[in-house]
């Protein structure tokens, strides 16, 4: 009965993911300006979510192994780490492709890029450690300790990382209608993202009370660029002129500017941009998250079972010998 259920579930995941892929290419409307590159987001976000899930599961099973000392738990921790590693690579690569197509750079040391880079390093270190210890029991114990120890540093990476970079290319305001954008703080020369537009602060100049920013705005896909000059009143602390983005209803505005540190907080003034307004896009997105999570769980179960069997065989060989 369980076997039949498992094979039905396997088929279901396959069909589901096939549906997600079809919807991703055929049903989801092309995102204005991004072209077909925008579709990769349907895969990128779920794989990134699975990375977090896998790392957590691996740490939980490592703790269970240290507590209960049962080899199965270590097999599960290893299976979660191996599959998590695959998904981490997928998330990194899809993100890099999108970044190159849309923003023109593969890598920007964005906080999320930093944390996923460190995650890849941790996995690499974990596998290196496992391969460097001969004794099975000892290998399990030490890698469980390392995996838990690494897990403790993750909150620091997530909470400390945002302050390492003034700019981030990950959208920091959702495209859902009614959501409020927080704007981005940019130092002169840095690039960041407002909505789907890449903005670069080229310079700040002050003339009396009026601070003028020179901002280069790039269309998604880098098809065209424009230089905008929003202005801001230093004494009253509010914007004066907020020019419109080329071909859009939205305006670029300065929320605050600091001449001493040569940085300004830019924001988009918009009634709501609405990429996820589109129901089909939203549902495909959620279906993608569900599908990839299910895929991970299935891969995780298969791999841990395989590791169990491998170990069983080794033990039997040992017994016969």
């Amino acid at each position: 009965m369980r076997e039949r259920l498992a094979s039905v579930a396997k088929l279901f995941i396959g069909i589901w993911l096939g549906g997600v892929v079809v919807a991703m290419f055929l049903l989801v409307p092309q995102y204005e300006g991004l072209g077909n590159a925008g579709r990769i987001i349907i895969m990128h976000v779920p794989t990134a979510w699975v990375c977090v899930l896998a790392f957590t599961i691996s740490a939980i099973y490592s703790a269970l192994y240290l507590w209960k000392n049962k080899p199965e738990f270590d097999n599960r921790a290893l299976a979660a780490a191996e599959n998590g590693f695959l998904f981490t690579i997928l998330a990194t690569v899809t993100g890099m492709i999108f970044s190159q197509v849309v923003w023109g750079i593969f890598w920007n040391w964005d906080p999320r890029q930093t944390s996923i880079f460190v995650l890849l390093l941790i996995y690499a270190a974990l596998f290196a450690l496992r391969s460097a210890i001969e004794d099975l029991e000892r290998r399990r114990r030490l890698s469980a300790v390392y995996s838990l120890f690494a897990f403790v540093t993750v909150p620091f990476l997530i909470f400390i990382a945002p302050r390492m970079a003034e700019s981030t290319l990950h959208p920091n305001c959702a495209f859902i209608e009614g959501s409020e954008c927080e704007g981005i703080e940019l130092a002169v020369g840095k690039i960041g993202l407002l909505g789907d537009r890449k903005v670069q602060l080229l310079g700040l100049s002050q003339d009396g009370d009026v601070v003028t920013a020179e901002v280069k705005v790039s269309e998604p896909g880098l098809t065209s660029e424009a230089i905008l000059h929003p202005t801001w009143s230093a004494s009253e602390g509010h914007q004066i002129v907020s020019p419109e983005f080329p071909n859009l209803r939205y305006r670029l505005t300065i929320m605050s500017a600091d001449m001493a540190s040569q940085s300004a907080k830019l924001n988009i003034m918009a009634p709501g941009t609405g990429i996820l307004d589109n129901r089909i896009t939203l549902y495909t997105f959620l279906a993608g998250i569900f599908g990839f999570t299910a895929l991970f769980i299935w891969m995780f179960r298969v791999r841990s079972k395989l590791l169990d069997i491998q170990e069983d065989l080794q033990q039997r060989e040992g017994a016969f010998a």
Binding site: L129, R141, F149
Partner: protein, 239 residues
């Protein structure tokens, strides 16, 4: 000590005494061989000299990104010297096969604390020498010395808290020294980021209130690593 307090106080007291004994033992054997200290100091000196030969007295340039570069170079020198020497105390136990005797002689917490103190002592010497050499060869000028020292000390404590348990792990693996760097680096990334940025502020002359959040993050990191190590060390040492 009152008689009532004795049962509660004794375990901690004996633990600390045992940790002190482990620390003194390591110190004595280090003074005999001078392996870790030589490796660390040679590394620190050669980094400072190499930077000086390559880019000259960059400490005198105080505009733009130069301050960040100075602070990064300082922490690179400290990090790689530390990665060369901090694994020594555990690796030596395995190489000379004294680990078993140590396991019998002292509880695991005492061993962890003793080794941690030893690594802290090594790092204190390393910090002192590296900073002196950076001041001489690169003409590093520190505008807010007290903040600088506080960040350096806290950064070193966090570094020692993170790497001591990793040293115990790699002592039982093959390819020890390479593995130590591989295991340490990913976990040290948050620490390095905070330390480099905070130190740059201190070199530039930021006030205490500006640098305090960096110090707080370093303390938080060190405490988290210390507690995690204390909980997990038993599993490493007794395997």
């Amino acid at each position: 000590m009152t008689p009532q307090a004795a049962p509660n106080e004794l375990p901690l007291r004996s633990l600390l005494l045992a940790a002190w004994a482990v620390f003194m033992k390591d110190l004595r054997s280090e003074l005999r061989s001078r392996y870790a200290i030589n490796a660390i100091l040679l590394f620190a000196v050669s980094t400072a000299v190499a930077v000086s030969l390559g880019v000259g007295f960059i400490g005198l340039r105080r505009e733009g990104d130069w301050i960040n570069i100075q602070s990064s170079l300082l922490w690179i020198a400290l990090l790689f010297a530390a990665l060369n020497g901090l694994a020594r105390s555990f690796v030596q136990e395995e190489e000379t096969r004294t680990g078993l005797a140590l396991r019998l002689a002292a509880p695991s917490h005492a061993i962890y604390l003793g080794k941690l103190c030893f690594n802290l002592a090594l790092l204190a010497i390393l910090d002192l020498v590296t900073c002196l050499f950076f001041m001489m060869f690169i003409r590093l000028q520190i505008a807010n010395p007290s903040l600088f020292i506080a960040l350096l000390v806290m950064g070193s404590v966090a570094l020692a808290c993170t790497t001591t348990i990793l040293a115990a792990i790699i002592a039982k693996a093959s390819l020890k020294s390479a593995l130590f760097a591989v295991l340490s680096f990913p976990l040290l990334v948050p620490l390095l980021v905070i330390a480099i940025q905070g130190t740059a502020l201190a070199i530039e002359g930021a006030t205490w209130s500006e640098g305090f959040s960096y110090l707080q993050s370093l303390i938080g990191f060190a405490v988290a690593m210390f507690v995690a190590s204390l909980l997990l060390f038993r599993f490493v040492w007794e395997s």
